[in-house]
């Protein structure tokens, strides 16, 4: 049985339905990342788990116990807020100890716990300061300390890094990951940043307009997105999504991607599409990530199906370790990721290697993945 279980969860504010039937579970020690665009209901879902908002329908269980009617303080959870929510009139030490004080933990025990957490997070020197005397990163650390000191059953994080600058964000991300590995705590983490989701999660849930789009491991969500929304949302630069037609080809089937002023690109049917899943003449959307379109030398040698296609180079964007190369197909820009030492110039014609083992097909009407 999962440690955290959410069944048929609905949340309405008056007539507005913000969460539309969420079913989700997480095993003990798992790291679930809720990801989705702004306003899709991530914070609302987290508040529901925390008990800060009542839910309209459904059930939430922690460790087998239904917590629907438990107050936040009785759910044995800790939460880190986007704004850190440090009590401005208290010192760092008082902030960290406030929860224990409310629970009637004796002062010597509180002090010891504060010392311990301060040592873990290396912020012993900050204990007597007020929040207003701290930098953004230090506040973030104190907010984490306040959650850690409680040793709760579940940690909830609501976009904890979104107020930090880029460099600090990457550092803290690593730190949170380490913290999870060393404590083995169960964590639910909200972010709109898909890179954060990919790096931290053991399980990702993609949310859109209050409905789950896909739940799975980072690899599953990344490699086999359930629908066009997930395909487009996860990954940067995002997946190439190209409209094409299924055609008969050498006794099998292939995908035809029209190009301006030249012959269409023909790609043999990706091997992971079940035979018979698509018919000749059907229109489909091919999803293929930039890193699956490379220069021929950079292609995956173990892939069962790589197609080499000559194409015109429109734009070359060096990005340090890689170079993004843009060409045209199906009326859209197609982004390929090549080695930085590949000899590519805008305006030239070069061979592109399409690794079709990593391609997925979508139904343009239902917008769901085929096969």
């Amino acid at each position: 049985m999962a440690f955290l279980e959410i069944k048929g969860l609905f949340k309405r504010f008056g007539k507005v339905e913000v969460l539309k039937g969420i079913d989700l579970d997480l095993e003990l020690g798992g790291f679930l990342v809720l990801v989705g665009p702004s306003g899709c209901g991530k914070s609302t879902l987290l508040s529901a788990i925390a008990g800060l908002d009542t839910i309209s329908e459904g059930e939430i269980r922690i460790d087998g116990q239904v917590v629907n009617d438990l107050r936040p303080s009785k759910r044995d959870i800790a939460m880190v807020f986007q704004s850190y929510a440090l009590y401005p009139n208290m010192t760092v030490a008082e902030n960290i100890a406030f929860g224990m004080e409310m629970r009637g933990v004796p002062k010597p025990e509180r002090d010891a716990a504060v010392e311990r957490v301060a040592a873990t997070l290396q912020m012993g020197h900050l204990l007597s300061r007020k929040p207003s005397q701290l930098s953004g990163g230090q506040r973030q650390r104190v907010a984490m300390g306040r959650a850690l000191v409680r040793d709760p059953r579940v940690f909830l994080f609501d976009e904890p890094l979104s107020n930090l600058d880029a460099k600090l964000r990457v550092d803290m991300r690593t730190e949170i990951k380490k913290l999870h590995q060393s404590t083995g705590k169960t964590i639910v983490y909200v972010t709109h940043d898909q890179i954060e989701a990919m790096t931290l999660a053991t399980k990702i849930a993609v949310l859109r307009d209050g409905a789950l789009q896909q739940v799975g491991t980072p690899a599953e969500v990344y490699n086999r997105p359930a629908n066009l929304f997930v395909a487009d949302f996860m990954g940067s630069p995002s997946m190439n999504l190209l409209t094409s037609r299924v055609v008969a080809h050498n006794g099998g089937t292939a995908l035809e991607l029209p190009r301006p002023n030249e012959a269409a690109i023909l790609l043999r049917m990706p091997p992971n599409v079940a035979p018979g899943a698509v018919q000749v003449g059907q229109e489909v959307i091919v999803g293929i990530r930039p890193e699956a379109i490379t220069d021929p030398d950079g292609a995956d040698r173990n892939s069962p199906l790589v197609e080499i296609v000559e194409a015109h180079v429109d734009v070359v964007e060096p990005a340090g370790s890689d170079t993004y190369v843009v060409t045209q197909a199906s009326g859209k820009e197609v982004i390929a990721r090549m080695r930085s030492d590949a000899d590519v110039r805008p305006g030239s014609r070069i061979p592109f290697a399409f690794d079709l083992n990593k391609a997925v097909l979508f139904n343009p009407e239902s917008r769901q993945r085929i096969g």
Partner: protein, 294 residues
């Protein structure tokens, strides 16, 4: 070079306009302060000097006798015990009335912003509406109610009336202030296990200094200076300072002691003056804080 010429020209231009501005400010300050000045000097003059001298001239032989008389022995109506008893009445009325209305206002503001319930907007609108009901419209109903609950002609009754009447304003002040207070802090405290009143006392109140000062000054001045309720719902020895001052000035036995009247008026005005001097700069700061954040 040209830069320096420009600055010096700007300098002369601004110094000319400065003279005009300061001149005007000084003029208005004099106009506003003259009555206070006259009151103050008159209260230190003897009656003879008042009758013979210039209203604006300083006292020739300053005396504090009028102050002592106003405080302890001037005749108000039929009793001749000065205003000290009435001063005490006002203190007895204003301190609890200010404290209770401020506390209730902050609780209202807390609930209306952080523990919202269906219909909170309507409740707030009604409370706001209470701010605009003219005093005169409620005099008779209030007198009836006070009579029915047995609080007619008592300081307690006055306290009740001032608390109820002040609630609209204090709620408005605190609601607007707490509206800008981050809700995540409340939620964090809830997760930390703090209850309704613990959150109020430990999280919200410590952050409420500026608005408490604004409310206290506002309520103190209003209630201290109130005349209508005091004269309507109290009588005899139970009236507040403002009503007693009026009675003192209107008492028609013997000669008119202007110096005593002035001294009594000064004493009546002192507490509000004091509150402004002590907390005035926080008043402006508190209003600004509310304005910027709200």
């Amino acid at each position: 070079m040209s830069g320096r010429v420009e600055t010096s020209m700007a300098g002369t231009g601004s110094s000319a306009s400065r003279i005009v501005i300061y001149g005007l400010l000084l003029l208005f300050a004099v106009i506003f302060l003259t009555p206070l000045f006259v009151m103050l000097i008159t209260s230190f003059k003897t009656l003879d000097e008042i009758r013979d001298g210039n209203m604006l001239s300083l006292p020739q032989s300053p005396t504090i006798a009028p102050w002592l008389s106003a405080w302890g022995s001037a005749c108000i109506g039929l009793t001749c015990g000065g205003i000290k008893g009435y001063f005490a009445n006002s203190i007895e009325m204003v301190v609890p009335a200010v404290a209770i209305s401020t506390l209730l206002g902050s609780l209202n503001g807390y609930v209306l912003t952080k523990f919202r319930f269906p219909g909170h907007k309507i409740i707030f609108a009604l409370m706001l509406f209470a701010c605009f009901i003219p005093f005169q419209a409620v005099l008779i109903p209030v007198a009836r109610v006070l009579g029915m609950v047995g609080l007619g002609n008592s300081i307690l009754g006055l306290i009740l009336v001032h608390v109820v009447y002040g609630l609209g304003f204090t709620t408005l002040f605190f609601r607007n202030y707490y509206e800008a207070f981050p809700t995540e802090l409340i939620r964090a405290a809830q997760i930390d296990g703090a209850g309704f009143f613990q959150i109020f006392r430990r999280i919200l109140l410590p952050a409420s200094g500026p608005i408490i000062i604004v409310t206290v000054i506002f309520q103190f001045t209003n209630i201290w200076n109130d005349f209508l309720f005091g004269s309507s719902f109290a009588s005899g020895d139970g009236v507040p300072m403002t009503v007693a001052l009026n009675n003192l000035v209107n008492t028609s036995t013997g000669v008119k002691e202007y110096n005593v009247d002035m001294a009594a008026a000064m004493i009546a005005a002192l507490p509000t003056l004091l509150v402004y001097v002590v907390a005035g700069r926080y008043f402006v700061r508190g209003l600004m804080a509310g304005a910027v954040k709200g």
